[in-house]
Symmetry: C2
Subunit: 132 residues, 2 copies
Amino acid sequence: MKYIDKLRNSGLRPTKQRLQICKILFDVEKTFHFTINELDQKIKKQIGNKISLATIYNTVHAFEKKGYLKQIPINSNQAYFDTNVTDHHHFYDLKDEKLIDLENSDVGPINILKKINGKKIKSVEVLVKLED
Amino acid sequence: MKYIDKLRNSGLRPTKQRLQICKILFDVEKTFHFTINELDQKIKKQIGNKISLATIYNTVHAFEKKGYLKQIPINSNQAYFDTNVTDHHHFYDLKDEKLIDLENSDVGPINILKKINGKKIKSVEVLVKLED
DNA sequence: CACCTTTTTAGAATCATTATAAAGTAGATC
DNA sequence: GATCTACTTTATAATGATTCTAAAAAGGTG
Ligand SMILES: [Mn+2]
Ligand SMILES: [Mn+2]
Ligand SMILES: [Zn+2]
Ligand SMILES: [Zn+2]
């Protein structure tokens, strides 16, 4: 009951819905990127039942807040999430509208020389747009 | 009649509305970042009259397509545009929800070591999120 | 001016996301 | 195990940015 503990330790009750979403998001070998609608589809397909969209939004946001998911800024149409929460970067294939991971080691160190008074850096993300 | 020519050369008729928007966007010393609503406010305030939101969207998208504006991916809430169309990067102040330019020279060369088969790189953008 | 095309516009439609509020559930207590 | 309470889920409505529509207005050309 790996996810039950994970949720409890985060102060989130391990409900049936949250456990199902955990299974889909984290019980796979590879991390992946998804939109809320894609997750909704995946739940219907893999679990069989449906989870209310409101619950899916709530859960994804709760997981994001706890650091189990990351949101990737791509465009203003819809939110993209990532189950890979390590520091890393992305390709974005403009034609397929798909994200591809770009590990830190594939980019090399990024040195931000400019400083902003009174602010500190929370994250540094590179987005590489791809075309044919 | 600098903007009349600019528009004509782009195959866009120099209408009153487009010229007014040009004036606001390009007739200033410094480039800046804006959302559609901020632009709408600015038009009302600086020009006095109002331009239909549909026209503002149309014009901004037309200018983006022509390369006179760039869209900056920040989050999925609303689109941010930039009158600075040179290659550059951004700070995003999470508290103030404001963009700050980060010139290429403030970041240093970014070497993308990973290649994706059949795709070529269109742009490389760094987003540095700031917190207090 | 007459004609044709592009553009503007108000308003409706769309779509992702968030809010609401009622019903259900988990976990604690007895 | 029944009871209680806070948390969660859910259907549904509301919101807000963006896009669509279709009719009116304006630009450009001869
Ligand atoms: Mn969010
Ligand atoms: Mn657009
Ligand atoms: Zn990723
Ligand atoms: Zn900028």
